[in-house]
Symmetry: D2
Subunit: 454 residues, 4 copies
């Protein structure tokens, strides 16, 4: 059998292409579907079935796009009223060459969540692997907080039963194929391992070491962030996103054209690393480093105004894929040749002060006045933080900006200096002027042996 | 300045992408436009202008496709009623960065043919190069036979004037950028050189060594073939072909699905080399070797029935590009894994006898009865042929098949064995059974020192 | 953690690149090591450790090549006197970032065979996966027949203990990373699954369902082929193969140069598919289809005479990698442009008759005299065969050629028509003239419902 | 005929691969020869001849490397005592398929310089194109200052005669294939055009519009820089550089390993753009932006100490090619994951102040004290400069550093901000602390309408 895992970077989403006997199946396809068509031809497998393990909320699923090109049918769980596709129920089976797929209804993350057990009937009747969607990850389980606080205990209980009654009983040997890897916001703390098994999770997954009551308690207490773009994804994935057909073309723009777009309200994202942004940038632009773009763009970009890109590469490698996966079809272009085009045209250049952790330490020791802002996740904050710091999650900055004083020196830190630079760029865009972002942030702070408050 | 020549294989068509100062121009784009978008990003040039040197007849031009994606305008000659684009006139100029383009009306090949003179104004006012479309090639001039026999002398005279009054006067130093290279059917005998100059052509091009009367005489006497698909291309390029958006997806098909398509009237083309076809093939299929596909498919395929592909490669590399360039959007799939899928399914296998030239020679010496069929171009035939052979151009086989006896051994030769195998495959499809195709054909025959009739 | 499996096609060999914390490990590297250097840079991991699970016998290991370029050390089992590297013993551990490797001595396939258990200490002390070398595969166990018939029972017993005492006790959840996949000659019948687990093997591997006595009996009765090149690989891998540094350059040769090499004793392999070879080939050359080349070249090529290649592709894609993996450094070139170069030069062309299974059936029904030769593996032969056929394994043809009558029509079949065409090409090279190879062979025969003798 | 120009970026060097009839020629190959081997296989041409138009001084020629792999012979001019290859003389001819090469002795740039006239004998006896080496470029002629001031007039005269007597007489139509394009230091002001002709140069090349006396005068007055690494290249190219065989492997290093190399005297080059360097960098490292690396590394790096790389990309794309082309085989590695690895480890971070031109203007208007340093080429300086600035060519900074005051604010500008950042990084490494580099520099200054002194 052919089995390929397709990782969508940044959102750490896994889709799967597999097949046997000339037929292929795709699970949770992304919207730029060229990779599945290429795999179809590489392996000589005709795509016939598309499964969605649930209504995905962190990206726009590519099922309609893929079904529009290939001769295939879309399936998903029965407990949501999708505008397209066919509902499947517990115990439904599909035969694909020598493989048999069995539907397992596994609610909890959402009501309509399904898992898919795969048997290789040419080998045995034992389950070989399970596509677990957002039910069970390496080292984690799915989040259950999408339906309001009052529903959370119920969803947690559903998830507990789904895991313990539908997944685990198939045996320690069963390979798990979850919809997300490390870094995804769909699980609090997914482990950095591509492959895992029922048995390894039973031994090591902290959420599988506790009883139902404890499990529900832990899930209820869990604090997770929900980027605002999830709302749009839910609409896209329930009612169907626009068909793209072609990967969007981002034209290279010169400084004059770029300025015109800005004057007309464009949203500009600078994809460069924090030090590059610090050394010089187009005024009033947001910095989200390239690899973090898929995870953070959805907090700060809207779906209406044109989107422009600044990069250090000459060409904006991959970013249009990231954008359309998040449903942003309002892409207008990028600064040709990167940021130098901007200053070579004599345009104004803004800077951001980048501090090392040693500068921060020294400044604290000097007793310099500052508003030290911690933009890490609340869970990380809770474990320890730098003394005297205030906390606002980077994604909450736009809504909570009034809590940050305008008249003080602001010093922002996060885990590494990436998120702190996002935050700093947003503060600058909002009129704050005396800001530093700390390179290395908590990571370097700890490496340097500096103290934290636990 | 940036200057890129894009060669479309098989039809030997050249399109050009060039630019300066952030803007790019495309001349005679092909229909699979991804290459221009990639060049746009590679060079940081925004595509603004699309020129068609004339209504192309050998491929579907990609102007509308490209203009639909980029922020660009389409221009062509004034003397044809196009359904899209803007007409340009003698002396019109366009400024692109430091470059200046000047329109030269150069009728002859067609009425609306234009050439485009390019000056690099940052260097001098001298013409640097000329895009000559189908007016002047390396070692050749354009064909003038598209408007009926009675019009040919007039078109030849127009062409003579276009060359001698519009192109040559710009000076021996001027570089020529024609729309076709060696192998194109748009010129009788284009030389195999990518770059040439006005001066080199004046010294070496046989058509530039003669006076007007002789020129017209030569052009009137010229015998060139017009593949039937040209009709469709002329319609596509005057009124606009359907927009594709996405490169078509060809699904891999198993033997059963493939058979079903055949039973329902599909056209099957086998892209393998003659020896592969000879050793075994799907019965009643046409063999056109991969590299010859763009040049010969248009003689034998219609625009209505589904098109299927057999290949030796596992994946049908490039062929969908060839097809859409010729306007064939009726692509349905290919035999997955290549020809072995067919016979592994127990399907019937047909063969074609492949002869070496030595077998042919021996058979002739033995006095074996045969109908020796020469399917080369009439011009090649006129120079010399193998004694006792009959001539029908490969492209004319379908219409002239009744001239070939059904009850005799048929032996087909061409220049190399490729076209003879096309011909043989068509004869087999039409019920002829005792056929051989000669590997190496005239090339090997001459190399072996065997006699020809001049 | 990073984990990459590198599959070497044809010999179905798996090497592994993995790492953590800036350091990388390679297990059983192949000789064209560029892929590991690329992975090193892709993942930012410095290669520090190279492990050989055993002295490989089916390819030339790239350990010395890789250690010569990187700053790394080579390790292997203690129970063989290697000319290079460092011996490791049961229980030795290595720390690589957060990973811990533990050596398990697992003799049976060879005396010095080791397996390597990997723990992710950041997760738990449980074994996460085991590199099992040639000890345990998906659906199979290693072969134990390399040390002579008298040693086989002992080696089988060692293997049994290695599996049951060293591998299986680590738990059903443990992922297995074997050195070979389906198609390898290092196991009789390896399953076509990339990933498996201890538990799944315990449930499904036929060799794990039986007791020790039965296990030994089964292994002793097992009939496996040993290609002659294994001898050379064993020398290479015990004493060190020549360092290549650069991937060899195969020059394109014209027909004249090619002929000269042949006259001087070159070994010519035609990589094309059977039908291509059938339709025409360079006389007295061996046909081994491209994908089968790694598995079959070692039966027929020697290490002294120059090796030349004929292909249908214009360029001999990948074949020089296949050759150096087998230790063939005597590569001299390929026919430029493929087989047509040969016949275009007027050279003599040979043919091979390709039969469909229907022709074979009909010929049998007609009572035509023939010597029907079955060249499949003896195990496949034993299950069923076509009535009246004689059996010689394709790899044994050179040594057993005298058993094949020179004066009869020879019809060769195998599983699909690939191996039968190898056999037919060798017979032709040895002076046999009236030969047919059966396209589709047993596969198509069965699909057509024709009878077999069980 | 096949003709491919291979551009080596940064040094703007052109090598040529061409051929006919199965044989190929390479002119002035670079040291990473894989591209020629790939072209050989792509076009089915066996490399037989390697020509060096002269002893190149700006890169290490790859002739020996290429001849060691292919079956080819090396040729160069007779008037230098090379340790390898064969001398050719005026009028020597070589036949390659239908092509004829004729040697033209064209001294001036060096004594042994040759040009090569190419005729396509299948077309005519006229010269089709000339490889002009460093004799004649688009818009320029070769430099003549390598043999000491006293020799320059004589070399200039030789060059004049070579151009006027050997190149130009072949006719306006002749295509020119020079060894360098725009950006090379081997000509003062080469035009940005890939293709030119004798006639176009006669019309537009400023050096061809003047008589001999004026020509010599102009060449004598010409001020060109000679990077110190040229000395090593001359030795390499006269006596033969070490054979590499394999492209060097640069291992990814962690911050600790990187530090250790630095402590032991490694030379560290930061390839990032000026703004990235400004925002943060490893202390005491040199910044040379990636694209400028080939042109500037040779001023600042020695051949003995290990070379390390810092980049923004995760992998050091291409830089090892640049290094070996300049003969730097002492490559030791790069910071894995780029600069963040450094600060994440808590290492100290240095900054460089990046100014916009507006900051410079304002500071001047404020009457701030500063030492304004212009590091542009002397020729550019002579045309105009910013008032109050001092001039030292960037390449001369190491030798003339004492002319720069240690106690003043230093502000550096160049044409664009790239070279000024090189200069600033060297000043910082030498203990200067109060430095700014001007983004956009003269380009942005002029675009902003600020005044210059002419």
């Amino acid at each position: 059998m052919i089995m390929e895992m397709i990782k969508s970077e940044g959102i750490a989403q896994n889709s799967y292409f597999f097949g046997s006997g000339g037929e292929a199946v795709v699970v949770d396809p992304r919207r730029d579907i060229d990779i599945y068509l290429n795999l179809s031809q590489k392996h000589g497998l005709n795509i016939r079935y598309i499964f969605e393990t649930h209504r995905n909320e962190d990206f726009t699923v590519g099922s309609l796009e893929l079904a529009g090109v290939s001769d295939s049918e879309i399936f998903h769980g029965a407990h949501l009223d999708f505008s397209y596709g066919t509902a499947v129920m517990e115990g439904d089976t599909f035969n694909v060459g020598k493989l048999e797929l069995e539907i397992l209804e596994t609610p909890g993350h959402t009501h309509e969540s399904i898992s898919i057990a795969l048997r290789d009937k040419s080998v045995s009747d034992d389950v070989y692997l399970i596509f677990t969607g957002d039910v069970l990850f390496a080292g984690e389980v799915g989040r259950v907080d999408f339906f309001g606080e009052s529903e959370t205990p119920h969803m947690a209980e559903l998830l507990y039963h789904s895991i313990h009654e539908k997944i685990l009983p198939h045996g320690d040997n069963v390979i798990l194929c979850p919809a997300h890897g490390a870094g995804s916001v769909c699980g609090a703390d997914i482990r950095d391992q591509e492959t895992t098994t029922v048995g390894y999770e039973k031994k090591t997954n902290p959420l599988l070491q506790i009883n139902k009551e404890e499990f529900i308690k832990r899930k209820v207490e869990e604090t997770l962030y929900t980027p605002p773009y999830f709302k749009q994804m839910e609409l896209n994935n329930q009612y169907g996103a626009p068909i793209l057909n072609r990967l969007p073309y981002m034209p290279p723009l010169n400084a004059r054209e770029f300025s015109e777009f800005i004057e007309n309200g464009a949203q500009v994202v600078d994809l460069r690393k924090p030090t590059s942004f610090g050394g010089g940038h187009v005024p009033e632009t947001i910095n989200i480093w390239r690899e973090g773009f898929p995870a953070f763009a959805g907090y700060f970009l809207n779906y209406d105004d044109p989107i422009l890109i600044v990069d250090d590469y000459d060409q904006p490698h991959q970013v249009w894929r990231y954008l359309i996966r998040l449903g942003y079809d309002n892409i207008k272009g990028y600064l040709r040749g990167g940021f130098p085009e901007w200053y070579m045209a004599g345009k104004d250049v803004a800077h951001l002060d980048m501090w090392s952790v040693h500068q921060l330490k020294k400044s604290q020791e000097n007793g310099d006045e500052m508003f030290l802002l911690d933009v890490r996740k609340i869970n990380d904050r809770r474990r320890f933080h730098i003394e005297g710091s205030h906390h606002i999650w980077v994604g909450d900055i736009p809504q909570m900006i009034r809590e940050i004083p305008q008249d003080k020196k602001i010093v922002v830190y996060c885990d590494s200096g990436y998120k702190s630079t996002i935050a700093a760029s947003i503060l600058k865009k909002n009129g704050y002027s005396n800001i530093s972002s700390v390179l290395g942030s908590m990571g370097a702070w700890l490496k340097s042996g500096y103290p934290v408050v636990k």
